[in-house]
């Protein structure tokens, strides 16, 4: 049996992802996480000296704290199995990636294990975020310097 024929057969038999169901679940889970974040932000705006904009920092930190609890007690992966991208895309998913790696590599010690591996999954997000920010900001700064666009 040649490769192409088998891959066709494999495509036929392997069940397709349930696109609609997955998207609805991602929408609900992702939306819900953002909604909870909005309540947290409201809390910070009402009781502390944060404006809508500056409240986003403590909100993010709080969401990561919640993510830590959910990850540690083993609930986050259950949410992720239902929510898919709905749980991976919010900042809680970023937290989950770092926290789960930290817990996992505890057995190799706190320096080489936890310290050395924490960014194993989440590191790529930081790398791409920083590099793309660099490129975008550089282009914009040059364009502003040339007088093509303004800030």
């Amino acid at each position: 049996m040649d490769e192409k024929k088998y891959q066709q057969l494999e495509q036929q038999i392997t069940p397709k992802p349930k696109y609609v169901k997955n998207c609805v679940a991602a929408f609900l889970v992702g939306g819900l996480i953002c909604l909870i974040g909005q309540f947290v932000a409201l809390f910070y705006i009402s009781f502390f000296d944060f404006t809508e904009r500056t409240a986003s920092n403590p909100t993010v930190a709080t969401m990561i704290f919640i993510s830590m609890l959910l990850t540690g007690f083993g609930y986050y992966k259950k949410i992720a199995q239902v929510g898919g991208a709905g749980s991976a895309v919010p900042i809680t998913g970023f937290g989950n990636a770092m926290i789960s790696t930290a817990i996992e590599h505890k057995s190799e010690g706190y320096v080489l294990g936890v310290g050395g591996n924490m960014f194993k999954l989440a590191g790529s997000v930081i790398v791409y975020g920083v590099f793309s920010a660099f490129v975008v900001a550089l282009i914009k700064t040059i364009l502003v310097g040339l007088g093509v666009v303004s800030w």
Partner: protein, 334 residues
């Protein structure tokens, strides 16, 4: 007739005893667990790391298998075993505790059968009176090596399999009456049909299993009807479906006698998706339920085909395809 990779054991080595240990999750969810010799309340078997727990499961399975024969490790000539973790360290540590001359075996999840075949060969050659063979896997340590950290949230599709925490060990001795005989076997050819999805290993392994199955039947001149049971290792629900489709195209009768350990391993629990995988999955199913049913005479002649995907995290991240292997062993009860 092409005799490549075919093994026939004229001296009729037998499986004298088996030892099977399973983890806590398998104890609760797996229908095979009722045949197991030992289970643990803790996924790390009360030890500090997952890998230590893994070694402990393997070691306990070996000791149980030998104790059933009233033997000690000092009586065994060889121990052949393997697992999936880096350089098979859990097996290495288990072997170091047992202290029997040791050969590490690696055929990924097909190690259960490959070690059994090598043990039969050693016995056939007259170099051994007692060989211990087996394989094991432990969910936590393997999941972390091949996929993501345990608590990492990633959505698994319907094709994903759950690595089983289990160890299965058999002791092989020269012919005695009343024990299942290893009559023949077939060593698989590495098959790679260009699949790359590490979360759909069943589909990648199915052609290897089908190829070995065909070669075994043609090489040893048997037919599907000769067997009471033809059991694949850990193809999972989707891989098993593909395997049967392939055989159907080659005009084998797949309506009955076929089973897959991986697809059945967690019963009807849907959260395990396509079923179980891991080298402990086939080993613990073969050396528990199948062995018991051979002994009790439910099965007279069985064909066990264990499949393994020979990939590493490195190879699939580099975009390589997944090469797969399948080994077959035929066991008869007179």
């Amino acid at each position: 007739m092409n005799k490549r990779g075919l093994l026939t054991f004229a001296s009729k080595p037998v499986i004298a005893s088996t030892g099977v240990t399973v983890g806590p999750l398998e104890m609760k969810k797996s229908p095979f667990s009722k045949y197991a010799d030992k289970n643990y309340d803790d996924e790390r078997c009360g030890l500090k790391t997952n890998e230590q727990g893994h070694a402990k499961m393997m070691e306990d399975a070996c000791m149980i298998a030998m104790s059933k024969l009233d033997k000690t490790p000092a009586d065994a000539e060889f121990v052949l075993m393997g697992d999936l973790v880096n350089e098979m360290t859990p097996s290495n540590f288990a072997a170091s505790t047992i202290g029997v001359p040791y050969i590490g075996m690696f055929s990924a999840c097909a190690t259960s059968v490959s070690s059994l075949l090598m043990a039969a060969l050693l016995t056939e050659s007259g170099m051994a009176e007692l060989v211990v063979a087996g394989s094991s896997s432990q969910h936590n340590s393997i999941e972390r090596q091949f996929r993501y950290p345990l608590q990492y949230g990633s959505q698994k599709g319907a094709t994903a399999q759950w690595t089983a925490s289990a160890a299965g060990v058999a002791t092989i001795i020269p012919y005695i009456e009343g024990a299942p005989i290893i009559t023949c076997g077939t060593i698989g050819i590495v098959t790679d049909l260009g699949l790359t999805d590490p979360l759909n290993m069943g589909a990648a392994m199915a052609p290897a299993a089908a190829d070995t199955f065909k070669r075994h039947l043609e090489g040893h001149g048997s037919t599907v009807e000769d067997y009471d049971l033809i059991m694949t290792g850990d193809l999972g629900k989707i891989g098993f479906e593909l395997f049967k489709t392939l055989l159907d195209r080659w005009e084998f009768d797949v309506s009955s006698t076929f089973r897959d350990a991986g697809a059945e391993y967690y019963g009807k629990h849907p959260e395990f998706l396509a079923g179980a995988s891991g080298s402990g999955c086939s080993a613990s199913a073969y050396f528990s339920e199948v062995y018991d049913k051979l002994l009790s005479g439910v099965y007279k002649r069985v064909l066990l085909i264990a499949t393994g995907s020979l990939m590493s995290p490195l190879s699939y991240q580099q975009g390589e395809t997944i090469p797969c292997i399948a080994h077959a062993v035929e066991i008869q009860m007179k």
